[in-house]
């Protein structure tokens, strides 16, 4: 099982050129095995640069990334091995499907791991099961709907059985039904395997509902790191960074402006509803005969 430790990570794009730009700086954190982590931040905040360091796709300009205490960038072998431990699903991964059949596409990753045919087959079927595409294995990826393609692409990464699964905007561009399916698939993978999951998302509602920990990036720095109740108890700080807040939080903020008292952090529909029903009961008592 993998614990990821990031120490004073820094990344500079195009160093020593006129286009030099520091994308992330002084990022330190520990990701224990099995956490569900949401990564937030607006475009250009450094969050995509950050996640590409977790499996050595990008090399640090400064600082280190450790997996179970070992520097993942210590040599060629470690940089390869980490790609099997930490699986990265990019934005719009369906553009990366290239094989003739769904089966072959999902088998590509495990095929590179030097596994036996039987083991590859087992992994392909298992991964297809996680995302609900078992019935599509013989089809061409080109014939699938957008949501199905996305799930096949995720299965291709899951088939390597990563201990850390990182997904960049896995629900972008899908309709509400497609979004729900993908999030269910990710939850199922985590529940069954105990993997660590990092999801980069602009969808605050999903992040608030799913993640047990949120990382907020702003201007290349990790500016907030904590459980959702802590992060969303400071909604003004998020809006100040140009980020959205979950819709229940936005309604709670407007209600507070109307003078209503609501408990500390409101970031899910259930919390908002419970808070309002409590307020309604209180109002009833207040209005009753004394």
């Amino acid at each position: 099982m993998a614990e990821i430790k990031v120490e004073q990570l820094r990344h500079v794009y195009s160093p020593q050129t006129p286009f030099e730009r520091t994308a992330i700086e002084a990022v330190s954190l520990i990701l224990p095995q099995g956490q569900f982590v949401g990564v937030l931040g607006h475009t250009g905040s450094g969050k995509s640069t950050f996640i590409q360091h977790l499996n050595a796709l990008l090399l640090p300009s400064g600082g280190r990334v450790l997996c179970d205490g070992e520097d993942i960038n210590r040599d060629k072998v470690s940089r390869r091995d980490i790609k099997w431990k930490v699986g990265l699903v990019f934005q719009y991964p369906e553009y990366q499907l290239f094989e003739e059949t769904v089966y072959k596409d999902i088998a590509f990753g495990p095929g590179n791991m030097g596994l036996s045919k039987e083991e590859i087959d087992e992994r392909v079927r298992e991964a297809a099961g996680f995302v609900g595409v078992e019935a599509l294995l013989d089809r061409s990826p080109l014939e699938l709907s957008g949501g199905q393609k996305r799930r096949v692409a995720i299965a291709g990464v899951i088939a390597m059985r990563p201990e850390v699964l990182v997904l960049d905007e896995p629900t972008a561009g899908l309709d509400p039904e497609g979004c729900g399916q993908i999030l269910d698939n990710i939850r199922a993978y985590k529940a069954r395997t105990g993997a660590t999951v990092l999801v980069v998302s602009h969808d605050m509602d999903a992040s608030a509902a799913l993640a047990e920990r949120l990382l907020v990036f702003n201007e290349g720095r990790l500016v907030m790191d904590g459980p959702p109740e802590e992060i969303f108890s400071q909604p003004e700080r998020l809006t100040g960074m140009g980020l959205d807040v979950p819709r229940p939080t936005a309604i709670a903020m407007a209600l507070r402006r109307q003078g209503l008292r609501l408990p500390g952090a409101v970031y899910t529909h259930a919390q908002l509803k419970a808070g309002l029903l409590a307020a309604a009961r209180e109002a009833e008592r207040g209005a009753g005969p004394c």
């Binding site: 719009y92 309709d175 509400p176 602009h202 959205d244 109307q258 529909h269 509803k273 109002a283």
Partner: protein, 278 residues
């Protein structure tokens, strides 16, 4: 207000499909109105959009745009000048290396005199708030900026109707706001007829009219407030309602006297606060 787009009993089937994507659809779009179109995947909403400037033509029935039958190939250029289409992926719609060259692409192809092209390009870029960046390279812009350049490219044709097929699906929240604000302003200030196809309930809230498509037909047609109030019906159609409506709906079930049609966050909060003070 006169009718600018008219669908008369329109059927459409893609050659490879067995089922019709549009199934006897009738619709009139008023000049200068803002119409939002919702529907789950496969409901026919993109197919509907593509019928509005003759990218697709009906297999049965007809579509009239400002009196032009979209199936009339001789009038295709006229039709395309009337109705501009903006798609989901901004990267697929930008052809030039400089923002203003990209916007000039269509008017150049119309064979307009250079001074007129200049006027149209500058005007279009100002309308979408991209004039300051007219000499930038499109690939260095943000998603929202690129999409606004794509909109400017369509505006430079001088259309009466702007049809957008999920223009914000690939954008971040900032880009989504930019595009929605731009489109709303074009309708309200310039009198542009806007048809916005989207997955995002929140983007429909400010429209004059909301159409919900299901299996190639119009399942619901009304103001956003009227439609979103029908919470069960929307669910049955595989759609959500905005968080505001959902909350008001559940509070009503708990016996709180709140209206269902307070769609934006502030009026929703106002309605709840008023009910609690009563």
């Amino acid at each position: 207000m006169s009718t600018v787009i008219q669908f008369e009993n329109v059927h459409f089937k893609y050659p490879e499909d067995t089922r019709e994507s549009l199934n006897g659809l009738n619709l009139e779009i008023r000049e200068g109105s803002f119409t939002a179109v919702l529907g789950r995947n496969g409901s026919g909403k993109s197919t509907l959009a593509k019928h509005m400037n003759g990218i697709l033509v009906p297999t049965e029935g007809r579509v009239l745009v400002a009196g032009i039958d979209t199936a009339d190939e001789d009038r295709l250029l006229d039709l395309r000048r009337q109705v501009g289409l903006v798609f989901q992926n901004p990267d697929n719609q930008i052809v030039a290396n400089v923002v203003e060259d990209d916007v000039a692409f269509a008017p150049e192809n119309l064979g307009l005199p250079p001074a007129e092209i200049r006027r149209r390009v500058d005007g279009a870029l100002q309308l979408v708030g991209m004039y300051e960046l007219r000499l930038h390279a499109p690939h260095l812009l943000s998603g929202g900026q690129k999409q606004r350049v794509a909109i400017a490219g369509v505006l430079a044709m001088g259309p009466r109707v702007l049809v957008l097929d999920e223009p914000t699906a690939m954008l971040d929240p900032q880009g989504r706001r930019e595009v929605l604000t731009t489109v709303t302003r074009l309708c309200r200030e310039q009198g542009m007829t806007v048809v916005l196809v989207t997955h995002h309930m929140d983007e429909c809230v400010g429209a004059d009219r909301l159409l919900v498509l299901d299996r190639g037909q119009i399942a619901l047609d009304g103001t956003p407030a009227e439609i979103f109030s029908q919470v069960e019906r929307m669910r049955a159609l595989g759609l959500d309602v905005p968080e505001t409506t959902q909350l008001l709906y559940e509070l009503r079930q708990e016996g709180l006297d709140v209206p269902l049609d307070a769609l934006d966050v502030d009026s929703c909060a106002g309605a709840i606060a008023a009910a609690l003070k009563r």
